[in-house]
Each structure stands twice: as C-alpha cells, then as structure tokens.
C-alpha cells in the first residue's frame, strides 16, 4: 500500500459533522436595567421538518452565566458537557473564585476555534450572557470562533430580522417588562418570516440574583395581513 492510499483510508475512517441534522433557530439576547434577557423558541428541525417541539436551548452555566444556542442540538449538548466539567473542576478548588461570563465566553471561543481548526466544527452559534460583580456581559461566538460583545446580539435569522429592531428600540435602562416586550416583538417577526421558528418560546433572565428560565409560552399572532393572504402577489416568478 502506498502512503497516499494509507492517508485515504484514514480519511474514510474519520467522521465529521459535514452538515447539521437537528437544529434550533435564532437566539436573541439583550442587556436591560438589571442584567441580561435571552429568548429562543423550542423547535428542533430535522432538516426542514419541524421534528421536535420541546427543546430547551438556553441553560445556566455556573453561578453567573447563561448560554443560548442555535444550530446542531447534539453539538450544543456536547458543549454543555464540556462546561459542566469546567464548572465542576472550578468549584472543586473551593477557594471562593468562580468563572464569570467573560471567562466562559472566552473558553467557548477557544473550543469553537479549536474544533474548526480540526475541520470538525461544533455546528452552533452561541449567545453568552451574564452578570458578575455588578458587571453585565453579553457576547456571541460562531461555529468558526468569531466572537464579540454587544448590548444586543442575535444568531442566524435573528441577525437579519431582530437586530434592526433592536438597533432602533434598545436602551441601556430598559425595564424588565419593556425588555420582554421588545424581545417578544422580535420573536413575533421571526415567527412570521423564519420558517424554522415555532410559536413556543422561553425567556431567560440573569441578574445578580441568578438565573430564571420561564415556562414555555406562545405569542398572540395575527395572520390576516394581506401579504399573508396572498403571498405571491407582487412577487414575480412565483406561483
């Protein structure tokens, strides 16, 4: 066997995620007066089929952080396992130090970028929010390790449909009620225009007091708009 053939055999044996299977759609996170609010629906799409309807895509990480994920659900579960391990070993020091959202965000960036360098990416876009020592933190990481912080962030379709709304209406000192209203406005737009979005969502809150993730609920919708009644009107070339 030549060495080239040897390499080809190896290539066949290794498995990579070449495309995602079960995926979640957008996550939106914003800062508000007392901390961070995040929202995501509970759909899990198998390709374009809306296959699962109760997927929790937001989880608390340690004492000060909240993680939301879109993309491959199983990869998100693997990330959660990594973070559970990380938090466990951090707690085992038992010395009063603990990871804040900044540390978790950077750690996730390292994981995502490392895996993409192995050409075996974790197929997710992540939103990481948290509060530590009175400091609010909100950031995002993509599947190839692109990361940044902002006052409001969104993944996937949310980048196109939610963030323009947030740019217009977001304020630093938003009250909890107003912040939830703003998120629901974004989620309603996504529900109308993103085919993967479903009308069952959760809102998660993190403040200095800790994390609370709401029970699933639905948004009021109105499908009587003309564009919904006759979607092909004005769209030349459709049927």
């Amino acid at each position: 066997m030549t060495s080239v053939e040897g390499l080809l055999v190896c290539e066949q044996d290794s498995q990579r995620t070449l495309s995602p299977y079960v995926t979640g759609t957008s996550v939106i996170g914003i800062k508000y007066k007392d901390g961070i609010l995040m929202t995501a629906d509970m759909g899990g799409s198998y390709g374009s089929t809306l296959r699962y309807k109760s997927v929790e895509r937001m989880k608390s990480i340690g004492k000060h952080s909240l993680l939301g994920a879109s993309g491959e659900i199983s990869d998100f579960q693997e990330i959660l396992r990594y973070l559970d391990e990380l938090i466990k070993y951090d707690d085992m020091w038992d010395d009063g130090n603990s990871f804040g959202p900044k540390e978790i965000h950077n750690y996730l960036t390292r994981i995502m970028y490392n895996r993409r360098n192995k050409f075996d990416p974790l197929w997710n876009s992540l939103v990481l929010g948290g509060v530590k020592n009175g400091q609010k933190y909100l950031g995002t990481v993509s599947m190839i390790g692109v990361h940044f912080e902002d006052n409001h962030v969104a993944t996937g379709f949310g980048n196109h449909l939610a963030r323009p709304i947030l740019r217009d209406e977001w304020k630093e000192d938003l009250s909890y009620e107003d912040a939830v209203k703003l998120l629901e406005k974004c989620m309603r737009v996504l529900l109308y225009r993103d085919r993967s979005a479903i009308n069952k969502l959760q809102v998660a809150k993190i403040t200095e007091e800790g994390v609370t993730i709401s029970q699933p609920y639905s948004l009021k919708t109105f499908w009587g708009f003309n564009a919904f009644q006759n979607p092909s009107k004005g769209a030349e070339g459709t049927w």
């Binding site: 010395d95 009063g96 130090n97 990871f99 900044k102 950077n106 750690y107 390292r110």
Partner: protein, 261 residues
C-alpha cells in the same frame, strides 16, 4: 564512614519519621541571600539582597515578574528558581489565553506546591533547592505566599527567607500589625528596613538590593536603582531627623517618657 544512614535518597524515611533529603533542600533556602515580602490591603512589596559572587562579577537576579498581577522573590538555588519562574509564567499565560482573565494567585501557588511535592516522592528526582515568596493580586485582594522545597505553602502578612532572615522576621513581627492599612510608600520603607536588618551592619545601598511592587492599579514591576537609592537616602535622612528631634525633646524635658521604639 556515613554520617547518616537514611539520607542518601529522597524517598527513604528515617526511623524518626523524617525525610533528610527534603530537609537538606530546606537548608539550601537558608543558605541563599535574603528575600522578604510584606503586604497591605492593596499592595505587596518584595525585596531581596543581591550578593555578587566576587568583586568582578555581577549579582544574580532574585526577583522575577510572572505576570502583570504576580511576581516572585527567591532564595536558594537561583537556577531552580528560574525554572520555577518559567513554569509560573507559562501557567499564567496559558490561563489568560483560555479565559482572558488573570490566574488567581492561590491556585498558582497550589500548582507550584504540587510540582514541588512530586519531587519529594520520586526516587529519580531531587527536591527544588529554592524557596519562593509569591506576591500577587487577584479578585480576593492582595496575597503573599511562601512556597518551600517540601511542597508546603503558607500565606503570610509578611515574611522573610534566606540567610540571616531571622533578623528581618523579628523586625516584621514587631511591625506587621499596622501593615494592613499601610500606604505603598510605607510598605517599601518597611521592606528596606527589614532588608537592612539582614545586612548586620553593612551599609544599605541600591546596588545590593532589589525592590518590586504590585498593587491595585499598579502592575508588578521592579523599582529602578535610582528610585531605590533616593528612597534609601530619604529614609536615612528622616531617621536622622527623628533622632535629632528625640535628642531635642530629651534636652527640653528630660523627665518625659522615652519614645517607644
């Protein structure tokens, strides 16, 4: 022929329950020139005595910056000290690469102690012959640790290691209760006086000591010689002033109680 039957390797116990090789390594720390450290709520100061091997040579570096928030002073085998400093630096830089935040001092010290401990339990190794004063600042405040060759570590308010360190320890023990609220300048002053104690009469100059500071809003750095010399001179002047005043007061009222030293 043999002075001691149980001291030929690190892993052999003596019947009295001692590990002689480890004790010899601790002895190496006492042979090295002195290093001291002290801390307040916000600052830690390290200082060391620099002894040149001969008139013709320069002295060995005894204080190392590990990261912006951590530094060490060493006494004992400087070569071992440099190896351990390199280890500490790499731990710090790896931590900040992964988490973009500074490594907590207490954790670094435990890692260092674990590394030293391994050497006391492997037949093919020897203990490090160096004591390290680790000064650092983190979320939980200012810290000063002493790491020794046995793998033990202790946290201190103020401490001195190396030759004739007992004199400095005595000085620090007399004054440590006020250190917590000391200003940065007072800490440096006490550091220099403690160093002076170890010199036993030899004149304190900037050429035979190194001083380093780390604190809130002040990354770890070694003070330059000129600054130290100025500090030494200003303190000596003040000392003389105090002495003069004391003399003057005694002249005015000889029955006044003597000042507490």
């Amino acid at each position: 022929m043999f002075r001691n039957q149980y001291d030929t390797d690190v892993t052999t116990w003596s019947p009295q329950g001692r590990l002689f090789q480890v004790e010899y390594a601790m002895e190496a720390v006492k042979q090295g020139s002195a290093a001291i450290g002290l801390r307040s709520k916000t600052h830690i100061v390290l200082a060391s005595v620099n002894k040149a091997n001969s008139e013709l040579s320069s002295h060995q570096k005894k204080i190392f910056k590990v990261d912006d928030h951590i530094g060490v002073a060493i006494a004992g085998l400087t070569a071992d000290g440099r190896v351990l400093s390199r280890y500490l630096r790499s731990e710090c830089i790896n931590y900040s690469f992964t988490y973009e935040s500074p490594l907590p001092v207490g954790r670094l010290v435990v890692q260092l102690a674990d590394k030293a401990q391994v050497c006391t339990q492997r037949s093919w190794k020897r203990p490090y012959g160096v004591g390290l004063l680790v000064a650092g600042l983190d979320e939980s405040g200012a810290h000063l640790y002493y790491n020794c060759p046995s793998g033990n570590y202790f946290e201190y308010q103020a401490f001195a290691i190396g030759s004739r360190s007992q004199a400095a320890k005595t000085y620090l023990e007399r004054k440590f209760e006020s250190f917590m609220d000391s200003s940065r300048e007072d800490l440096i002053k006490d550091a220099l006086f403690a160093i002076k104690e170890t010199l036993q009469g030899e004149k304190l100059t900037s050429s035979i000591c190194t001083v380093a500071v780390v604190g809130v809003e002040e990354p770890f750095h070694i003070l330059d010689q000129k600054t130290i010399q100025e500090l030494i001179e200003s303190f000596e002047i003040r000392e003389e002033e105090v002495a003069d005043q004391g003399a003057a007061m005694q002249e005015q009222s000889p029955e006044a109680a003597p000042m507490d030293i």
